[in-house]
């Protein structure tokens, strides 16, 4: 059994919690987000015949009033950056958070999840922007909290990256 700490960061209200809540085991309420700024869920999966338990640190979205505490990121073996495709500012926030998280986690593997894939028609984040990131080696997965598309795949993908990295 291998355990990994995984952080999930992004701008405020990009749908981090909604995105994963159907796919993880949770015992803590949402109020922890507004009190201590983090809520922890658990995700168990088998990747490459290895039992892996992910402890998912769902960190409160960063905004002007609440900054992500770097201490919550320490020890993460990987992280999800989450952006809302319909809000271009969340793209900027994701890039900014990546800089901090990458530094704290010593370049741990990550995946950018662009949420609200079911609303592609009204996305503000452009393909060009995303292509730029892909060209820099970023792994980007389009997800939908509404339909659950690609969420499970995202977990598997990040876990593979973490296992390769260890």
């Amino acid at each position: 059994m291998i355990k990994k700490k995984v952080a999930m960061v992004g701008a405020f209200a990009v749908g981090k919690t909604s995105l994963v809540q159907r796919f993880v085991r949770s015992i803590f309420s949402e109020k922890y987000h507004t009190t201590i700024g983090v809520k922890i869920d658990q995700k168990e999966l088998v990747v490459n015949n290895v039992d892996v338990t992910l402890l998912l640190w769902d960190i409160h979205g960063e905004d002007d009033f609440m900054k992500i505490k770097p201490t919550y990121l320490i020890g993460s073996s990987g992280y999800f950056l989450v952006a809302d495709g319909t809000r271009s500012d969340t793209y900027e926030t994701a890039i900014k958070l990546h800089e901090m998280t990458s530094s704290v986690t010593k370049n741990a593997p990550f995946i950018l999840l662009v949420n609200k894939a079911d609303l592609r028609d009204i996305w503000e984040i452009t393909e060009t922007q995303l292509e730029t990131l892909k060209n820099q080696g970023w792994k980007i997965i389009y997800t939908s909290a509404k339909t659950g598309d690609n969420v499970e795949e995202a977990f598997v993908e990040l876990t593979k990256k973490m296992l390769q990295n260890q």
């Binding site: 291998i2 355990k3 700490k5 085991r25 015992i27 922890i40 658990q42 892996v52 640190w57 505490k69």
Partner: protein, 572 residues
């Protein structure tokens, strides 16, 4: 010219000769010289060469006093200072496994002194509770403080978590028996998040951490190590000793798993071995712990047992008394028991009782049974027990004391003496006595005629007169014969007195005369009276029936013979 010659000679020496010359001067052969040259040219080789020698040399120098510890101290102090200045955490991590025990030892010494001081101070506590604890301390050979503190503890460690400090991942979890399973992984991580939050919020020093969190009756105690944290969930009020247990477990984990903790990559299987360190932390303590023998409980137990023993003894005594009483009334004549039952702490005896039976409480007393333990509900009946028939006959027939009654085979047997009147009554009334069918008077003597008529007895007694010759005291044959008849009459008078409850007496009168020697006459007359008195007593006449009197014939109206003895019956 001379120097030139020498120079020429030297040039003439070949290389071998020079080598031989060097060996003679230095005492070293060629390989040894080459080795020396190599050492001088290569510092690394030289360092290796003297590495064996240097510690020995230093030791010798210290023994000689050429250098001492004081000379070396500044060097080591600077070294340590440099190390701390550069990376204090490294030294702290190195010292962590030994610092804990050292600090604990020092603290425990201080605590010991503190406890002794407190113990002394608390000796003055005089409340009833403190007095009880002091008695416990006295009987259990423990300090008063220990006893006092033991009453404050009631706790149980329910969970122990070993958490990796950097990743907040759960390395191992132990729980107490009969405690429900929990989501240990998530809880451990959340716990780390909360402590991080507290630490960040209050800008605590990086090495500091949250020691404890209290939520109602639940306490969360944390011990922070360089690479791992131990968290214990405790229900109740834990003692400070638990902190030591947690510290020791954490130190053991660090000592045994330092490499795994340093290089932790999420693989937790190796930390299954920490179970042996974590399980001892699952301690609990309850009031009245089985290891301690609660003396006051023992005393209470002894009192209860003594009370129980006394109660059982009393019960047995009562049971025995009840059994004896039952046996008594079952066998006693004139009773017939129907049932017994206990009521209000007494034995109530139901049954039948003949009026001529002995009263029940009198029976109990005569058999040493406590009368206050019994109650009677008795109805009258007529008993045909022999004893009761005899008692009934005695009462019905007004049986005189001289008569004895017995009952056998339905026949009333009568013995002793009686008069005709009573015998007549007996013969007329015996069959009125319940149970008596026959009468046996074969042993009954009837002496009714001799005692019925007092005048006849009196006449018979008074007719006797004994006349003696001068100065004579002895009776002749004829007088002796009459004396025997006198005694028979005297006995009849006694019988008359008894039957008729009278007090007639026989007055023995001895007559004399004033003529001649008066005193001598008086003396002889008195002797005659006393002689008769003695003779009558010897013949069986009771003493109380006899009195004597000396009478001078000159004082009598009716002349009496002098030197005679006669008898008079008088009522006393």
């Amino acid at each position: 010219m001379k120097e030139k010659d020498q120079s020429n000679n030297t040039e003439k020496l070949n290389a071998d000769q020079l080598q031989e010359l060097r060996e003679l001067i230095l005492g070293l052969d060629k390989p040894a010289l080459q080795r020396m040259q190599k050492l001088m040219a290569d510092p690394h080789e030289f360092a290796i060469e003297i590495s064996d020698l240097l510690p020995f040399s230093i030791r010798k120098l210290m023994e000689k006093g050429s250098i001492n510890i004081a000379d070396l101290l500044p060097f080591f102090e600077d070294m340590i200072q440099e190390s701390i200045g550069k990376n204090p955490q490294r030294l702290a991590n190195l010292l962590f496994p030994i610092m804990g025990p050292a600090i604990r030892k020092a603290v425990s010494e201080d605590l010991k002194r503190l406890i002794e001081s407190l113990n002394h101070g608390l000796e003055s506590g005089l409340s009833p509770k403190h007095l009880k604890w002091r008695l416990q301390a006295l009987f259990s050979n423990k300090s008063y403080l220990e006893i006092m503190l033991s009453h404050a503890y009631l706790y149980q460690v329910k969970h122990v978590f070993l958490i990796h400090r950097d990743t907040a991942l759960l390395l191992h979890h132990e729980k107490a028996d009969h405690v429900a399973n929990i989501e240990a992984d998530m809880i451990a991580s959340m716990l780390s998040a909360i402590t991080d939050f507290v630490k960040d919020s209050f800008h605590s020093n990086e090495q500091d951490g949250v020691d404890s969190i209290k939520i109602g009756e639940t306490n969360l105690w944390l011990e922070q190590g360089p690479y791992a944290i131990i968290a214990a969930v405790v229900e109740g009020n834990p003692p400070p000793d638990l902190r030591i247990e947690l510290k020791e477990a954490l130190e053991a984990v660090h000592y045994n798993h330092r490499p795994e903790l340093l290089n932790f990559d999420g693989e937790t299987e190796i930390f299954e071995h920490t179970s042996k360190f974590l399980k001892p932390c699952l301690i609990k303590e309850k009031k009245g712990n089985g290891k301690k023998t609660p003396v006051f409980v023992l005393i209470l137990l002894v009192i209860i047992l003594a009370g129980l023993g006394y109660w059982i003894y009393q019960r047995i005594q009562t049971q025995n008394a009840y059994a004896a009483a039952k046996e008594l009334f079952f066998s006693e004549s004139g009773y017939y028991l129907t049932k017994t039952e206990r009521q209000n702490g007494k034995l109530r005896i139901f049954g039948l009782k003949d009026d001529f039976a002995t009263e029940p409480y009198e029976l109990l007393s005569s058999n040493q049974l406590a009368i206050d333990q019994f109650d009677f509900v008795l109805r009258p009946f007529i008993s045909l027990d022999s004893l009761i028939i005899v008692r009934r006959a005695e009462a019905l027939l007004s049986t005189p004391e001289s008569v004895r009654l017995a009952f056998e085979k339905a026949t009333l047997k009568v013995s002793g003496n009686c008069n005709t009147e009573w015998k007549d009554r007996l013969e007329k009334q015996y069959n009125r006595v319940w149970g008596v069918l026959g009468l046996d008077t074969s042993e009954l003597t009837v002496s009714d005629e001799t005692v019925r008529d007092l005048s006849w007895i009196v006449d018979d007694i008074m007719q006797h007169k004994f006349v003696f010759d001068f100065n004579e005291l002895e009776m002749n044959e004829e007088q002796t014969d009459r004396f025997n008849k006198l005694t028979q009459s005297a006995n009849l008078l006694d019988e008359f007195n008894r039957l008729n409850k009278k007090q007639y007496i026989i007055l023995v009168q001895s007559f004399t005369s004033k003529a001649g020697n008066f005193a001598a006459n008086q003396r002889v007359a008195n002797i005659r009276a006393q002689t008769f008195l003695s003779l009558l007593k010897e013949a069986g006449v009771p003493d109380h029936l006899l009195e004597t009197r000396v009478i001078n014939t000159e004082e009598l109206l009716k002349p009496e013979e002098v030197r005679s003895v006669s008898f008079v019956v008088e009522e006393k």
